[in-house]
């Protein structure tokens, strides 16, 4: 795993440390929820994990075509992925509009998020699964793992307007559903 900034480790600031999982398509809701639920003196860390499966697949597919020379798309996808991670973190930082650390990681997404946020006071994530109806499938593989394994308290929000037929659920688009998990 490669980190571009160290996570907050100072024990005094642990309670104020808010980690935000920045993920494709869902990061806006996570940033908004962090802003409305974090304590006023919170210190923010934006956390993005690059999915290396795409670059690896392209690299492997190229290597599987025996004999070709010098046109491996894996390196190009790596560069694109690095730029994308930086762009996402930049966009998230702009939306947050508060001083923040940026953490850019590689590897298994869910494990990276759980490990990096272990000492946080709060981890904010957006649902990464099926958004069409409430229920367990609204969490994807990474989200499910994070909710099940996170050491710190976790705030889970819908990335967009929650499904309308939510019995007793939140009605306001982008508002967190106040589901807190802690171990």
């Amino acid at each position: 795993m490669v980190s571009e900034a160290d996570p907050v480790t100072d024990s005094d600031s642990t309670a104020r440390s808010v980690f935000i999982w920045v993920s494709e398509g869902t990061w806006r809701a996570a940033v908004d929820a962090a802003l409305s639920h974090a304590p006023p003196d919170a210190s923010f860390t934006l956390l993005h994990v690059t999915d290396d499966a795409g670059p690896d697949a392209a690299h492997g597919a190229y290597r599987g075509m025996f004999g070709r020379v010098g046109h491996d798309p894996g390196a190009r996808l790596d560069a694109l992925a690095t730029a994308q991670a930086a762009d996402l973190l930049e966009a998230a930082a702009r939306r947050l509009g508060r001083p923040c650390d940026r953490l850019s990681m590689h590897g298994n997404t869910e494990r990276a998020v759980v490990t990096a946020s272990a000492s946080a006071g709060l981890l904010v994530i957006a649902r990464d699964g099926d958004q069409s109806r409430p229920g367990p499938h609204s969490l994807g593989r990474a989200g499910r793992f994070i909710v099940d394994h996170a050491i710190c308290p976790v705030l889970v929000v819908w990335p967009g307007p929650p499904p309308r037929d939510t019995p007793g659920g939140p009605r306001t688009p982008g508002k967190p559903d106040r589901k807190r998990h802690s171990l």
């Binding site: 398509g25 795409g54 492997g60 290597r63 025996f66 004999g67 688009p173």
Partner: protein, 421 residues
Amino acid sequence: MLNAAAGETISLIALLALLAWAVTRPRGWPEAVAAVPAAAVLVAARAIPVSAAVAEARRLGPVIGFLAAILVLARLCDDDGLFRACGGWMARTSAGRPRRLLAQVFVTAAVTTAVLSLDATVVLLTPVVFATAAKLDVRSRPHVYACTHLANSASLLLPVSNLTNLLAFAATGLAFGHFAALMALPWLAVIGVEYAVFSRFFASDLSTGPAGAAPDTADGPGLPRFTLVVVALTLAGFVVASAAGVSPAWAALAGAAVLAARALKGRRITPLGVLGAADVPFLAFVLGLGIVVEAVVSNGLGSALAPLLPTGTSVPALLAIAGLSAALANVCNNLPAVLVLLPLAAPSGAGAVLAVLLGVNIGPNLTYTGSLATLLWRRTLHRHGSAADLAEFTRLGLLTVPAGLIIAVLALWLALHGIGG
């Protein structure tokens, strides 16, 4: 001439060394560095008669020329912005919805693979698809996987879609248009299977799109019309030339020459750049591999494998041929696999040769790249991947390949009976 046993032993050692080289790539040197000397050693040791080696080189000559022309054509299409324009089109029409983007990627990757070969999809289209997904703020994994899968499974349609097809084209005895007509139904069928599996397998990734307005994608580049017209005329040239008994390689050469002349005139590429696009070491590798495999087959492997390959074009026979081809493509790699199986399948007619192609083109998706796959994956994992990704890719292969093979074989059987082989 060595006796057959000694000849077979030395030929097999040469082939295995070549495959080992391809997987480990010592010092990053290309496979040609091993393939050409391996072929030379076999000729010098009389494991293959000089006349047989020359005959194989003559057989491969037009194939290699054809391949070079297609590689150059695809590269110049990329230089002219064709794939960037495809990316713009996908971004605009998908409106930021991952499911719609997946459908666009399927269409683009299937057509690119069919017309400009799997190399174009893997090398030129995949980065554009990745960048498009990033721009739309959707997860790239399903879309990139779709490119790598379709580079193999959507390479059934035309003789130019895959080097395996080019190698087999002459053995089918079919004209270009006839080949395409017979493979159209299997091509569509296997793409359908892939799409059905992908949309379920990646349901979670595909249901998470950016909330709110779609990203601004209005500023995409337009389609390079001249380039598209040249590609269309080249395609028509394949069919017309082949029907007139002229090698369709000439049409490919003409198309590549037109685009190259235009790019050279506009100083967008140098003559050396054109040569680089043709990937000369790759062409040398194909020649070397062809001679090595010919030595292996003629010294005994051919007669040893012959009883394993069913004859005829009944559904069970076609299924067995495609299955065996897919297995061999996974054990070694689809290039040696098709070279070994072609002479065995050819006597049963075009249907059997096309069944071999179904196996060696669809099969590689089963164990990632169909090439001593786990070893390759370990190399890949050393980059930065995780074992979870390997498991996921293998599961995807298990879901798509057997189903795709069976349905494609049934479609081929229907086409053979409907159109006639």
